[in-house]
Subunit: 243 residues, 4 copies
């Protein structure tokens, strides 16, 4: 089948980050690209014109992956607004790890998604698969371990997810809803917590498989502009039985 | 049982509105009060200090009913922010009819909830009960008719509701998810579309029963301030089995 | 992409049915086959050995479409049991119209799914699309009319569907959740009410598009036999941090 | 408020069980009764006439708690059928611990709910509260520990719960959806996994609080017999606008 999905990976910095000397966005773009599932895969970052999220780039993006951590506050309301509108009109969004505290995720979910427990001591995380029928979990083992991870724990301030795909267990005693789906307008959203700048988690094959699956799942069938036309009341004449 | 629920009805105007010479908010406050289910019921409006939504009023509100139509744009971001935070910390919210386009509802749901079909020709609306086990539908007939109503039709730009309690049928050929529940943080939210300023819909016993039930359902067990404390990482010591 | 999905259409009779002189199952199999999306499409019926649902046929079925109306009681418990087990292990199931009262649908949902309103006077049905992001609704207009249909109305005794894709409006005053998804074990289930033996509904392009989409959506990524192995407690050794 | 809820606790044996010399059902009935929330609380068991689940007892039960472990196979199809029908008509059901494998739970959910991981070495279980707005979690701390528990782990073969209230963490490395709600017909269902015959878990105040809350939550507003009448097609005359 011809490839039709255009993917963009956004990062709050274009610089080297911990385990990712090439840049975290480039590391993710590389394995997505190597999967040969996508028409185009591009990496952009905050320092670029229009914060890397110009109308032109968004218009050519079917699925957006979002990484932010220290600089959420530098993302302008205008940028958040452009991304928000594009998601509502159908663009898929994959929110990565600390992206839970991003302006765009909070706007879409309506809660203080920045609130959760966390602890950073490089403890073991075990990721359990809760949904066995879902395209995002295809080919993923029933569970897998991340030897050193940052703990994210409940209570996580999100609305109840539409689908709960993964639950994480931590050596220190916490649990977390680590893989969740949501829909907002035409846009499919996947939040996936495993991943961290200083641990080489995005090099793990299980993580790469999940993100490739997610980018395929989140791609829209097309952008249903009708969503914006259909608000017109149909002409009376349309109703055969009313005199 | 002693009554413990404090209810506030907010309206974008304190003036007479169509079928409600006493003010729409006063009309709603009156039947809620007569139900003898609530400790206090107060009506407030946009012209009042801090747009009727001061910290002090919110602190004394367990459940808020919200009516807006022509003046959504006059509600300040500060007011929307105060209400939003109170809902997240546990206040119940009942969004009435044209309140679907309010700033607060859009902030909580994350979609363009202002978008839906509509037609105003006083046609028949039939409200069907879809959930028979729910506190909000208790004592409501399997369906009832509103002789003259404003049509609200799909597609309605909301996230999939957590519970779908009512679906409306319209003489002109449309359907609508007219009773929906959502949760955001500690706050329970009920959207109910039937109701209009120029038709005497809020005088109908079925409508009054539904709104009384909803205000009881939406009341929080208390305001779990813990939601804001619990984000602290528990001290290592809390984990008995880690040396 | 190479086609991998094997589809079977089951009917309670192999004979001509109303608008379908070739047999209703053959009519459905024909348009599914013509869509060129599936590896194999076969039509089977109740009169065949093992009621058309032998282990061998099930083993070679990824997605099953089920039509029954007058002879639900003739389907043996053994047949229902075989189909039930196959769905749990991953086979997609599409339940058509009066199939709502079938033994297999009731076993999977746990409620008296035979209960709903109905009226057969050939009135107009209007099918509204409620989900714009879903693979099953791809390419389907925001609504379409069925000039003559059998009315199915609420209350329909199903558990709340995981996704509500379509709501039907009827000229006579009813509404119905006409397109619903469920998941049971590895199996994805789609119930779609439009369709009737005496009206030529299965010849409508919108209906055919929906059923082709649904058969693609319901196909499993593979049959996760692991669902049955994974119940073994993992050996102690698997846990690095416990002595 | 006058008490109106009649509770019945069913156990597969009336004998002493591990930590419960008085009988497990009697231990549970005792703390429910002491909570002063219920009109009547009775304990019944498998050895009694009609397996403790006669029509007369069911007719006088608003909420049923179910404990079974070794003798699920001794529960007759007739008993399971009577309980199933009563749940559909509105009786609340609370399924306790090993009751996950009971005939009644499997009939209601439609999946092989007997399938899950388990390990019995008396390890620590930590129960995390995931929903802060729910009547069942009222007054329950954000998490609490069970010093010695039987491990129940994912993948648990249930349909996605309507509400996920608790997730359990185990010292050995597993997680479990330990508090889940479902609805079937008029009946509200709560599954709660903590609890075991040989550990004194049902004496813990957090566990007792959850079960008292759950019994109040699951009580029906009344038994909507209308569910069974309303299937009649309304007379033509009901539709004013059809000639």
């Amino acid at each position: 089948m011809e490839k039709s999905i255009n993917v963009t990976v956004w990062c709050e910095t274009g610089d080297a980050l911990g385990a990712y000397p090439q840049g975290l966005h480039n590391a993710i773009a590389e394995f997505l690209s190597n999967s040969n599932n996508f028409k185009t895969v591009r990496a952009v970052s905050l320092e670029q014109p229009e914060q890397g999220m110009s109308e032109e780039i968004l218009r050519n993006t079917d699925v957006l992956l979002w990484w932010g951590h220290c600089f959420h506050h530098l993302v302008s309301e205008e940028t958040a607004e452009r991304v928000h509108k594009r998601v509502l009109s159908g663009m898929g969004l994959i929110v990565l790890h600390s992206g839970h505290a991003s302006k765009i995720f909070q706007r879409l979910l309506g809660t203080e998604t920045n609130k959760l427990r966390w602890r950073e001591i490089g403890e073991r995380e075990r990721v359990w698969k809760i949904a066995h029928h879902h395209p995002i979990t295809e080919g993923v083992p029933e569970y897998f371990d991340i030897p050193k991870s940052e703990m994210y724990g409940e209570f996580f301030h999100i609305p109840a997810p539409e689908e709960l795909l993964f639950i994480s267990w931590y050596e220190g005693g916490e649990v977390f809803r680590s893989g969740c789906t949501f829909t907002r307008g035409g846009g499919k959203i996947f939040f996936f917590s495993p991943g961290h700048e200083s641990y080489p988690i995005y090099y793990m094959p299980e993580i790469q498989r999940i993100l490739v699956n997610a980018a395929k799942w989140a791609a829209p069938p097309g952008f249903p502009e009708i969503l914006y036309d259909e608000q017109k009341t149909p002409p009376e004449g349309k109703y055969g039985f009313r005199v």
